[in-house]
């Protein structure tokens, strides 16, 4: 499904002309199969978020290749990458990243609008997804009228609505209390089971990592496989 081959990346630090380079990703190799939930754990500054940005196409690695369904997506242009994300990738963010001026329904339908889908088809698709994630009663609510858990559900619904082949989640429970965290993890697990969705979850929370089929740990830009669970 997704393959990372020898990914290396550095950040430059210091004034121009006096900068020095800090390696943030070192020779990363990762293979994720369809229907897997993969977690990448590590402390702050370990390079896990940088790795997610590289997979998403927000950042181009200094070296190495990224393949999705055997297609090399490393050197896609910005526009091609955007199109690729729109069709293949869903995002779950730690702080939800919802549009404050849009209702829950409108937030979820935003990727479909960008895709150019018609109003009627959009409505049907969004309503179906809202039902799946348990948001059918709060469609008209604005983000500031929703609880943290509901906001994260909206974020998950927005990620799912385009029917992506992979979902990238960056600390999906980082802003939630433990009870809500369990609800969201249960939802992710059920989505994986029911829809056979592939997840790559970046987290520092071992409890989150425990729901995943494969677990990788990152430390100083290097990655190692930790364990595989049967969920």
């Amino acid at each position: 499904m997704i393959k990372l081959k020898n990914i290396n990346h550095t950040f430059s630090i210091g004034r121009k002309g006096h900068e020095h380079y800090v390696p943030v990703l070192q020779n990363i190799n990762l293979s994720v199969e369809a229907g897997e939930i993969v977690s990448i754990v590590g402390r702050s500054g370990s390079g896990k978020s940088t790795l997610l940005n590289v997979i998403a196409g927000f950042l181009k690695p200094k070296s190495g290749r990224i393949y999705l369904n055997n297609k090399d997506i490393t050197d896609l242009s910005e526009t091609a990458h955007a199109d690729f994300r729109l069709k293949n990738v869903g995002f779950i963010f730690q702080n939800f990243q919802l549009m404050p001026g849009l209702s829950a329904f409108e937030n979820i339908e935003l990727p479909l609008k960008i895709r150019g889908m018609g109003k009627t088809a959009r409505k049907q698709t969004v309503e179906k997804i809202m039902l799946k994630v348990g948001l059918e009663k709060v469609g008209d609510h604005y983000p500031n009228e929703l609880s943290g858990g509901q906001q994260q559900r909206v974020c998950i619904a927005r990620a799912l609505v385009t029917n992506p082949s992979i979902i990238l989640a960056d600390e999906p429970t980082g802003s939630l209390d433990s009870e809500t965290e369990q609800e969201i993890l249960a939802l992710i697990r059920s989505l994986n089971e029911v829809l056979d969705l592939t997840f790559i979850i970046i987290t520092h929370d071992e409890e989150v990592a425990n729901i995943t089929t494969s677990k990788y740990r990152m430390h100083d830009g290097e990655m190692m496989a930790v364990a595989a669970h049967a969920i």
């Binding site: 927000f58 526009t79 069709k87 849009l102 935003l110 609008k113």
Partner: protein
Amino acid sequence: MQFRDQIDFVRQHVKKNRMRVFTTILATTMGCAFLIVLASIAFGLQGTVEKEIMTDDSLTKIEVYEGSKGKINREKIKAIDQVTAVVKKSNIDGNLLIKTNYDKRSTMPETMLIDYKEAEKANIKLSEGSYPTNNNEVIIGYHLNSMMYSKADEKAIENNKEDKKLNVGMSASLLGKKINLIVLTGEKNEKVMTKKMTVVGIKEKPKKEWMMDSSILLSQKFAEELMPAIIKINPETKKEEVFYSSYEVYAKNVEAVKAVNTQLKDMDLSTYTVTEQLDQMNLLFLALKAGLIFVGTIAVLIASIGIFNTMSMAVTERTREIGVMKAIGASPKLIQRLFIMESAYIGLIGTAIAVAISYIISMAANFFIPKIVTFATKEDGFENNDIIFSTIPFELVIIASAISIGVAILSGWRPARKATKTDVIQALRQD
């Protein structure tokens, strides 16, 4: 993204910052309205001058004068293709006084000798009657009867120091009546000749409201009757000293004027046509209009600074939103288009309001300025004249809208470009 959704998206954002967008639209409206109203003055004045020229003269008429080399040869001119008539007009020397009287009423008309046949061919229309068929018949001006004063009328005019409206002159038509034409010498008021003539035709009413036509149109043959009488008093008088002639060539239609005029010029004749004058005048007004539109555009450009600021602030404020949009798959082109559409939206609304306001200002100016000037100068003439100060033709609306919306789009272009360059990672880190 479908176009309708893009519009919805823009409208949502405009609603969010109502006050800021309102002030920006206000600035755009003021700039665009200034441009339209300013340019409308040139359009208005051009219309007024054009109307003035067109009502004054026939468009198919070419006035012809003898040049330094070319002499007028009527037959040669008549032979030019598309010439319908060559009318000779002769004025009588100012040293001779012409007087008309009828039924104890008299006046001193402007007298002119013309070729009746050619005038008829040139389609110089009469309001009543027909063209004379013999030397004892005459055509008179539309207002000649109302200028025929009795002794009592003259006294009333003399005593009318407060400029009141007087009921003087004849109200009955002179058509079919026999009037006396008396020619006097200017110096001693010596009678040169008297002739009884029948009024068979009355000229058309002058197109300008304020014009009074008290003329008499005599046949060119009248010169042959008058000359012997003059020579009897002053034997050395020559015909050229008494009659000053000019020629009017009439083309078949307005389109033919240019070709006929060129051929007349080729004969070394000096010419004057209304269309030629209109062309020259239009060129002058074109320069004036371009100048005023340029000045007005400066106001629009000043307003565009507001749009630039508004859009730059919008991009800065919405950095996180732009980041999310890009993350979930919006292309840089779409982001750019949405911001350009937002600035175009401001330009469009501002322009639409400006057009409406400009029409109101234009109408108000045309209504109030004559009244104000009349009040200030205490003269009625100004109010009665059909002077149009401001006209907003459709083409001006199109030009101003194109400038205003174009400038709005251009001022939104740079902020929109900035939006496309938003770094997703940085943007998502914002609160």
